[in-house]
Symmetry: C2
Subunit: 1004 residues, 2 copies
């Protein structure tokens, strides 16, 4: 400690010394604070460091691959510290913890002490503070929370501080969930951003309403308001030449009379003019200048040197007041004015930066990466549960690497699909590495839980489970064993949801005579579906592309059977060879050359079936149609921008026969629509929705034209231009075609301007019914015609849209140097419910999509698995399940052994007559068998006590928004009762201290 | 002192601390020195900072005008210091004092102490150390000495050190004078450079002869040898990706295992490969890598960070040895090997960087700037004499500003003419400001010397003299007074040469009845020459262009008369109005429509006159012709490159009559050759040479083709491909057409490849005669045909030659926004002498061209000037003059009151049978009336005692060059006798301490 202090004082001295030595004759006065009766220009020195875009995150950090983009974040941070030490008035904000962490871990303790002092003095402030500046359109709220938490925890741990400000300056539109959940609920006092629709911006500048009070949640109302500011143009310095990066062409302040070109008066005039121009569109006498942009401050001194001079001379001039500031200081200054602000509800989607330039293409760009991220997200949630259940190892396999990869993937050029191809590959590689690590943990944890012999701790279980991440392309070596030689396949099915779940699973098998037994040893019904040619082709080429080798054998069937799994637990199924597989039916297969009567296909329990017509399967009532369409983009469409020039309905090229597979578990209709579109419509026993699997690609480009592929599902419902899309998979927001709440929309792109991002789904309704479509990944969706829902499934483009990525979005997959356009495989699901009853399916099935059953496989050599293993398990005990309107979205053992818990109410206010109500969860039951020592309710990112956060929260006056005195929220958790109340849409975050005398749950 | 030491230790600690904190896990070992049995790769960290080129010197310093070129020298120096402090093994060299001085004067004493310590420890080394890296083709040796001295004195004063190494890495060819005079005589142990002919380079790489012992002087022989190294390619890092500027695309060394793209083995292999490749063309086991290039190290840490890693990992690898080094360390290492080196004599001109790309255009580019620099150079020499004579004022008007401007103008993109137009303007502006200051000093000093009443010091003389810097365009308000109203014009004529001088001067007057009296009051002969129309036009437009106003009246005549001035002194002439001006003749004027018989024009004392024919004035013997030619450049000709595509002899467009002016003093033949070429051939009474004045321009470009204008003077002499051109106005070097001493020249540009720069002149000879041409400024010259001499006078080009300046050399002059091509006015002089006798004229008249008589004017209202003034003066007293073979090239009072003296022997060995001999100067006589206290002989740049310099000098072994044991040099100066001996071409530099009890010379 003494050494530290000593070092400290030396470095502080160094700061002073350098400050003093700055110039022999010129000492700049940069100490100015706010001056109440002047226009205050808050200079916010910042760098915007994309966590991957044109280069990978590591390339950006170390400064390699500079031929693509000159950018080195290490330079920024290395050069920043002496620049801050040189003058204690200089301030800087840093945003992206993915970069900061990389830098931090390379610093000595002495340097770390210096930086801590800079943070503590406020010279260096962490803003936003997630690992990245996540996207807001195509990110799932759980991912947003996780990545923000990761960053905030790091900041808390190393610096003991909590970021106060949201700083989403670059994402391409802004979500309600960002405002209220990742803003207010995180404890932010304000949220700043750069990109809003150009028409919206123009009106707001005119009305001085760029800065608002944003109430992003209907359910949480005023309790989740936040002060939000859109910048006048972007997140760069104002017009007038104030860029001061090394080699920037802005005129520096030349104040040396000994040299030529002295220009202080000119530059002061430039400054004042720019300030007054901004003041004219801003309320109060405070304006913020974002002094920086992408990857700037590589030699930080160049900026501070000029800002020093500007502050000095502008304040000498006296017309306006210039000061080093931060968004926090600016926010406090705004708040102190006691001004009222315009109100803002809903969100800022879609974003257009000029006429005809809607950034709605990226809602679908890189659909495979988007799906991969979503898969990993659900897997990460499940893996953390298992990590908690078996005990976290800081050294052994754990979820840290996956957490990191997922966090980075939320960046607004990552999952957004707007990065260069090699960078997309990097995200995928990181996810893959993270997955591999987590997969080991999952395998080991499940084995521990299953091996009843190893009750006391479980370091190395005897059995390792195999998993099949490539199951989607029907590749699962673990299940493709030959059961005819006495080997049994054991499938452990883990359910990470808090409810018991009955689902159909499908796995590839090579035998045609198999029998399935459940956890109790009962033979259960199953069905074999011949593996369609399209799967074989996908499997062969993509396994080779991914693994570098062609798979040996090809399984003959998908084996489908229904599993039943308790909450937070697993069930075990055994598949064995048997000639007398009474309960296993090979599907009835028919090739239909004529139109199929729909009833013969879809008969099971589907309600309203008569209304449904799948694609060219025309139903008699003809109320429902589905088309896949191709959109031909204009020249300036690209990874970001959707700008269709023409629409073409894709009809089957010729009368390719439909294939119908029927059986007791699932019925499928296969249709090869053309050479590059294959569609399977699927109905499951006991399920009331339709599942559509699409295999699209390679999108042909031999005509030299890129294409966007969308599916249109048409009903006869009178939906009155209205539809609903989710915000980051959480709140549904009402959308009206060709309409914006905040301004009179001038429609110049009837398709692109009505697209919205969906993560969970989209629905429409008329006076009787709701029609809901849910998706397995984020994509762009709309309802361009009443009664119709449109989803964009794939994009392959040949031109760049001039928004920086400088690469056409033309994804290919290569096998032995032969590259073909990427094939997208995915699913969407739809269902029709009576009006007012659709939420239940959307919410609960939505959870199932996000958290699919996790399958782990083991081989058994004729032994009796159930004798040596636990075959069914629930962490909460068999009698407990979460209420239907609550999901556990985080259960994670932290570094320090404490446990992070998040419970989320799944319903908005008014969404469901039964479920949109206050509900509660008894922690004692949830943590069945464990003793809770202490529960602390935290901010959403768990970096401060909730009560402290509430205490500090700034309250803003909003014009036209009544401040509801009592928004319903769950009350404090009684330490004895330990019951967590949740009001609609409420998410509550806890850190729980368990009594360490108790063992892990599987001991009990 | 205590404070300093304390600061010091703090900063040293800081250095250590930062070094230690550099990285938590990685501490790089950068301490490696030379390893005898390995290939040593000397990493020389450097930046090459042009003192003006695409931007002005101040713009480069402060980093403005970055849209032209991203470059800010302040960044380099600001960021360098912490980078050096961070690791005591890091080293850097700095070269251009013009920039360093700008930075230095802004630093606090604390920072200055730090830097002094870095210099003292060798981490920061000054190399070359002049104000700029001067050009070597078109610079006069006196300017080279002056600008080097200015830098070296600064370094000596501030740091107490003397640069050891010449570092002319960028100039476009290398001169003998640079090697022996600005190299050896300055005390350099080696000289490095980048640009030599591509054919030469190829041969030298092949023969490992890039590094040589260069004996640049025939006269001084081995006593002035220097070790000289041409770089393998340029002055940048070797091929293989070793550029580490912010944003440079070279791959950084990625050694963090936690990040992707670890590449240490690859980068080490790259390094070793590049090292071995260079070792293969280099003698000894030492190679130098020039780690930097133009304006690099703007954030110095980026380079050092990577070099740290390279040194660390390459030395771990062990195949080669990498170390931080400097050219000094490298030179010592080379010397320590005791290797013998190839010998090199003469020089490295002309320079071609590839086939057909001879950098010989710049020898003439911007001829007006070149002339301005040369005029100022002579004026500066005279002004310093007067400053010395009247006493230097550190505050009042002095020569400092002119010294600075002249120094900067020697930069290899300044006087070279290869800068952008706005930068050329900047040099001119600086010269003009410097001139104005010096002009005041000169006026005041002459007045002091002339006012006999003010013997004791002279702060503010009663009379201020006017001077006429625009006399060349016949604009001289001071002389254009109406003498008919009783006002007399007093002309004080100062002679800065050490010999008595009889010269004709010409001044514009408005009266046609004037009479001239000399210092003794005797009426002397004079002649009035009507002002030709061409002068009136030049005067009207250029005065307006320069001064912003059109001159009011137009003088009617040039008044010519012969003046006689003592050495280092003046004479006074009075011009009054008189109707009875018996001795003043208005020239006899004839318009000749027929060919003129030469004898009628040229009759006076000119020898060999029958051989001369001026232009279209054909002599009967027709032995001599002169043409002006136009060269049409190829596309890739430009400011640097001369590449003629065709030659066109310019004949008079029609029979414009010749005008012949005859009189007792001067006879002139005027010829308007075409609309844009005017030529005056002039003979002076008592002079045996012909003076040709040319007025060329605007060069027409309405055909869209740029043009180069040359004059060809043809004799019938059999010159056998041989001619002689001077090196920086000093040594003449023998040139043979289509031949190089060092390699078999592959001729691809018969004109451009045979051009050489001249500063003094060019001559040819046959077995009887010498034909010499002297010039008033540097230009390109050759003898492309036996008997012929060619001078390029002007260039106007419309395309850029892709060597960086990115601007066509198309000089214009604007009046009221009307811009026209620049008109060049200049003079050359020629004469024919018997073989072996030409040197006398070349040397002595060369001095007169360099140091024209300085004219100062005053008005006198009928008073008798001579009663109140000294009318004739010589600093040395009337009886003394310097020997014919000696010139005083510096006489300057230094800051500390001591006096800097340089005496130069003007003749090469063997150049003249009488004058190429040891000679001597008696200082006591030279400093007539002053008492010399102490004389210290110094190195050429006066930054160390000559004896010390000789003691330290490294002696090199040269292959094939005998080391002459005793090169004749003047012996030590006996403190009592104070006689300075000078051997041929010797320049000796002294610092003289006068006895302060004596007054200045004019007291005596």
């Amino acid at each position: 400690m003494e050494i530290r202090l000593w070092l400290f004082s030396v470095f502080l001295f160094m700061g002073t010394a350098i400050s003093w030595v700055e110039s022999k004759y010129l000492v700049y006065n940069t100490s100015q604070g706010i001056v109440p009766d002047k226009l205050n220009v808050h200079l916010v020195a910042h760098t915007h460091d994309d966590v991957g875009w044109l280069k990978t995150v590591d390339q950006y950090y170390v400064g390699s691959n500079n031929s693509i983009q000159g950018a080195c974040v290490r330079n920024v941070l290395d050069s920043l510290i002496p620049a801050l030490l040189a003058d204690k008035n200089r301030k800087f904000i840093y945003v992206e913890m993915a970069f900061f962490q990389r830098w931090w871990r390379d610093q000595s303790e002495a340097m770390q002490q210096i930086v801590k002092q800079l943070v503590s003095s406020g010279q260096l402030e962490f803003i936003n503070g997630g690992m990245c500046m996540h996207d807001e359109a195509v990110t799932h709220y759980i991912d947003m929370i996780d990545q923000t938490t990761l960053g905030h925890q790091f900041i808390k741990k190393e610096f003991g501080v909590t970021p106060r400000i949201g700083w989403q300056i670059d994402p391409f539109g802004h979500s309600a969930v960002q405002a209220y959940l990742l803003g207010t609920e995180v404890g932010f006092d304000s949220l700043f951003f750069g990109r809003i629709d150009y028409q919206d911006r123009a009106k707001r500048k005119n009305e001085k309403s760029l800065e608002v009070v944003w109430q992003g949640s209907d359910s949480l109302g005023s309790s989740a308001q936040i002060f939000a500011g859109a910048f006048p143009e972007n997140y760069e310095p104002p017009p007038g030449g104030f860029y001061f990066e090394v080699n920037d062409p802005s005129p520096i302040v030349q104040d040396d009379m000994n040299l030529f070109d002295y220009n202080v008066p000119d530059r002061v005039n430039d400054f004042v003019a720019a300030a007054i121009s901004q003041a004219n569109i801003t309320r109060t006498n405070h304006i913020m200048w974002t002094m920086g942009t992408d990857f700037k401050y590589q030699y930080a001194e160049t900026w501070f040197r000029e800002m020093d001079k500007l502050i000095h001379y502008v304040n000498m001039d006296g017309r306006v007041n210039a000061l080093y500031s931060t968004p926090s200081i600016y926010t406090d200054a705004k708040h102190a004015t006691n001004e009222s602000w315009p109100a803002k509800t809903d969100d800022f989607f879609p974003y257009a930066d000029r006429a005809n330039a809607y950034w709605t293409g990226y809602f679908t760009s890189r659909p495979a990466l988007k799906r991969y991220v979503r898969m990993m997200s659900g897997y990460y949630l499940a893996a953390r549960q298992l990590e908690f259940l078996s005990g976290r190892s800081n050294t052994g396999p754990n979820t840290d690497s996956l957490a990191d990869a997922l966090a980075i993937a939320q960046h607004h050029d990552a999952v957004a699909g707007t990065e260069k191809q090699h960078v997309a590959n990097d995200y995928a590689k990181r996810l893959s590495i993270g997955y591999s690590e987590a997969e080991k943990l999952v395998a080991s944890s499940l084995a521990c839980l299953a091996e009843s012999t190893s009750h006391n701790g479980c370091q190395s279980p005897a059995k390792k489970f195999q998993q099949c991440p490539l199951l989607n392309i029907s590749y699962c070596p673990a299940s493709e064993i030959n059961q005819s030689h006495g080997k049994n396949l054991v499938v452990v099915v883990y359910n990470s949801l808090g409810w018991k779940r009955d689902d159909v699973i499908q796995i590839p098998v090579i035998n045609d005579e198999v029998i399935v037994h459940d956890s109790e040893g009962r033979e259960i019904e199953s069905q074999l579906l011949p593996l369609a040619d399209v799967y074989v082709a996908l499997r062969n080429s993509y396994v080779q592309a991914y693994l570098g080798k062609r798979p040996m054998d090809t399984p003959k069937y998908w084996l489908a059977f229904t599993v039943s799994v308790p909450p937070f637990g697993f069930s075990t199924y055994t598949i064995s060879g048997s000639k007398s597989a009474a309960n296993t039916r090979v599907s009835d297969l028919r090739r239909l050359r004529t139109w199929l009567n729909s009833h013969s296909v879809f008969t099971l329990d589907i309600m309203e079936l008569e209304m449904i017509k799948i694609h060219s399967i025309r139903l008699s009532l003809s109320k429902f149609t589905s088309h896949i369409i191709c959109l031909f983009p204009l020249k300036n469409a690209g990874a970001y921008i959707f700008r269709p020039n023409g629409t073409f309905i894709i009809k089957p090229e010729k009368q390719i026969p439909l294939i119908v597979m029927r059986g007791p578990i699932v019925e499928e209709v296969h249709q090869q629509i053309n050479q590059w579109i294959y569609q399977i419509t699927r109905l499951y026993k006991g399920k009331e929705h339709v599942e559509v699997e699409f295999i699209v690609g390679p999108v042909p480009i031999d005509d030299g034209i890129g294409k966007e592929v969308a599916t249109q599902i048409t009903t006869t419902m009178a939906t009155n231009k209205t539809f609903y899309t989710d915000s980051n998979g959480r709140d549904f927001i009402k959308r009206i075609r060709d309409y914006r709440t905040d301004w009179n929309l001038e429609v110049n792109q009837p398709a692109a301007g009505n697209y919205y991002p969906i993560n969970l789904g989209i629905y429409t309704k008329d006076d009787k019914k709701e029609f809901s479509v849910l998706v397995d990944r984020p994509l762009g969706a709309s309802s361009l015609v009443d009664g119709q829902v449109e989803l964009m499934l794939h994009r392959r483009l040949l031109l760049d849209d001039s928004r920086g990525v400088a690469e056409a979005l033309n994804e290919t997959v290569c096998v032995l140097d032969q590259c073909k356009g990427l094939i997208i495989q995915g699913k969407y699901y739809f269902r029709i419910d009576p009006l007012g009853e659709g939420a239940k399916w959307r919410r609960s099935f939505g959870q199932e999509i996000y958290s699919p059953l996790l399958l782990a496989f083991a081989e058994e050599d004729g032994d009796n698995w159930s004798n040596s293993h636990v075959t069914t398990f629930s962490a909460t005990g068999s009698s407990f399940s979460l209420p239907d309107n609550v999901a556990l979205i985080t259960l994670q053992e932290l570094d320090d052994g404490k446990v992070l818990l998040r419970l989320a109410h799944l319903y908005q206010i008014g969404e469901d007559k039964d479920l949109s109500v206050m509900t509660s969860v008894e922690l004692k039951k949830l943590f069945h068998g464990k003793k809770i020592h202490k529960v602390a309710e935290m901010s959403l990112s768990a970096n401060q006590q909730r009560t402290e956060m509430e205490k500090k929260r700034l309250v803003w006056k909003a014009e036209g928004l009544e401040r509801r005195e009592a928004v319903a929220r769950g009350g404090p958790v009684d330490p004895a009762e330990l019951v967590v109340e949740l009001s609609p849409m409420e998410i509550r975050t806890f850190v729980i201290d368990f009594d360490h005398t108790f063992h892990h749950v599987f001991d009990v």
